[in-house]
Amino acid sequence: MTPHEQRARARALRVGDHTCWSYSSATEHRNVLTAYLASGLAQGEKVVAFDRRGAAGRVAAYLSSAGYDVPALVASGTLVLGVAEDEYAPDGVFDADARIAGFADVAAHALDDGFTGLRAYADTTAMLAHVDATRRWPAYELRCDLLTTRLPIAGLCGYDATRSSPIALDLVRSVHRVCLGSRGTSRFAVHGGGDGSLELAGEVDAFTADQLESLLVGAVDDATVPVLDVTHLDFADVAAMRAIAAALRRMTTRRVGVQLRGPSPTFRKVWNSLRLHVAGVELVPA
């Protein structure tokens, strides 16, 4: 992708877009982030940017170079700058519930204050390897994806590809509705649907089913509607089906009217053959 295309795609991101961005150079970082943040400011959105530790002043410099009066934006509450590690793991502790509640709270106040929405950027590279967060991080990202289906938030999650494990990056890409840069090699994707459901797509087999179960079980409570949509699930083996059943069981502990939407004929046959029926879950067409 050319720098021009990168900037164009970043500018086009809107509230409701939860975007994974694996960047690989300082130039790319500057181009994309400047375009993304400037687009939000132009649309009357409140802008929050949490850059990684050690990059103090980088975002402010981007905006200043683009002609913005950064001190004035900060003073008016239009722009909030911070350090990602401090925001996500204060005192070394990662609290996913608190972090999500924090974004929801900022978004709500932004609307109250007359902004059109919240545009957030966070460089979360460090969280992929954070001792307290690494295992829970992908499910947290999925919860963020669901959050952007119900609040006017544009979220851009930056990962430094030169400092991140390709496997970990693949997994976080799979829980963002939008990707800038490489989509990686993940064979499945799970994210929030337009109606607030959870949508599972692609292929899941015995070698990825544990990842899927961890993601789904960790995020099903955040779905606005109690629906897991598998319309675009191209392949699921026994292990994948059991992961889905586990997630639905979890969903039924807190919700009524749970639906598994859009199973293919083969999915239904396998589901029934394995006797995976979950009480309180209805299989419905797409």
């Binding site: 064979r187 292929e203 087999d205 015995a206 070698f207 392949f235 083996d237 026994v238 293919s264 004929p265 083969t266 046959k269 396998v270 053959s273 394995l274 006797r275």
Partner: protein, 319 residues
């Protein structure tokens, strides 16, 4: 063949697996109707799994007694012979609390079975002894038509059944192969794949490649979309077993015959659990469902375990 003359037992205290040799439809009706009536008269639950035309004949013969009997068409239940034991298992489980024994009639073998189906039916008959060795008491009668089946098939029936009957004459089979031999790994050779087959060796990183390959093969040879995807799931499960339990690699062979789309997975593992493909593990147990699923999805599954490894051959009928 020498016949003893034992009186019909009034009661059984274990699983009794009995081959009943009969001649033609009249012989079938006379032999099975007497067996079924004895069960109905004793208040025993009775399940009869035979062909649709024989069900009709039995209903006529039994008259009002037929209302106390459950019937199922073997063409559906046993199209894939490996699905028959689960059906009997359901029947047994459903009646586990019945204070008296119960009985069934099951005819999995008939003359029109293909050669491959016949072998799997014979394997099924042997495995019944294993499946219900520790079961509550019940009596399963397996009719064999001496007018249409070959002597070799009738001979094998004597080896796979601890008891045999000719009409009301019942005896132990002195040729029964026994429980251990019934449970031994099945190593009856499979015919070689045709020359025009395709081989796809696979390892840990190749599982996802097998899926589009299988789908393309299935669709190319005329399977419908849904059945093609069924075959993909089945092949994936068997290949996953190769990667996990079969030495970490395997070979997928694909071909088609006039009747079937065939996929075969071979690996270096040994399958020692004789009922692995006919038992759905408890919900809380991990693993062990792949082979079960292949039998639910495929029309015929042939599993062979040799000293050198295991071969699983999956058939989907064309058209």
């Amino acid at each position: 063949m020498t016949l003893g003359t034992q009186p019909l037992p009034d009661a059984i205290d274990e699983f009794r697996h009995e081959a009943m040799f009969y001649a033609g439809l009249d012989g079938f009706t006379a032999g099975t109707a007497a067996f079924i009536r004895a069960g109905v008269d004793a208040g025993e639950p009775v399940l009869v799994v035979v062909s649709a035309d024989k069900i009709e004949r039995l209903r006529d013969e039994l008259g009002t007694d037929a209302a106390a009997v459950h019937f199922a068409d073997m063409a559906g239940v046993g199209a894939n012979p490996a699905r028959i034991i689960p059906a009997w298992r359901e029947f047994v489980d459903r009646n586990a609390d019945t204070p008296r024994p119960f009985r069934g009639v099951g005819e999995p073998i008939w003359a029109a079975r293909t050669a491959d189906e016949l072998v799997e039916c014979q394997r099924h008959e042997s495995l019944l002894n294993v499946a219900f060795a520790d079961s509550t008491a019940w009596w399963l009668l397996c009719p064999y038509d001496t007018t249409t089946l070959s002597p070799a098939v009738l001979d094998e029936a004597e080896r796979s059944h601890p008891y045999v009957a000719h009409g009301e004459l019942r005896r132990e089979s002195d040729r029964y192969r026994g429980l251990d031999a019934s449970a031994a790994p099945f190593d009856v050779p499979l015919g070689p794949p045709p020359v025009a087959h395709t081989e796809h060796p696979f390892g840990a990183d190749d599982l996802s490649d097998l899926r589009p390959l299988t789908l393309t093969h299935a669709l190319h040879h005329g399977l419908g979309e849904v059945r093609a995807h069924d075959l993909v799931v089945a092949v994936n499960e068997v290949a996953t077993n190769s990667l996990r339990y079969g030495g970490g690699s395997g070979v997928l062979r694909t071909w088609a015959t006039a009747d079937a789309v065939v996929c075969e997975v071979a690996d270096a593992g040994r399958l020692t659990a004789p009922l692995a493909d006919r038992t759905l593990p408890a919900e809380d147990r991990n693993g062990g469902r792949g082979l079960w699923l292949t039998n639910q999805l495929c029309d015929l599954v042939q599993i062979r375990t040799f000293d050198t490894g295991t071969v699983v051959r999956l058939h989907m009928w064309r058209g």
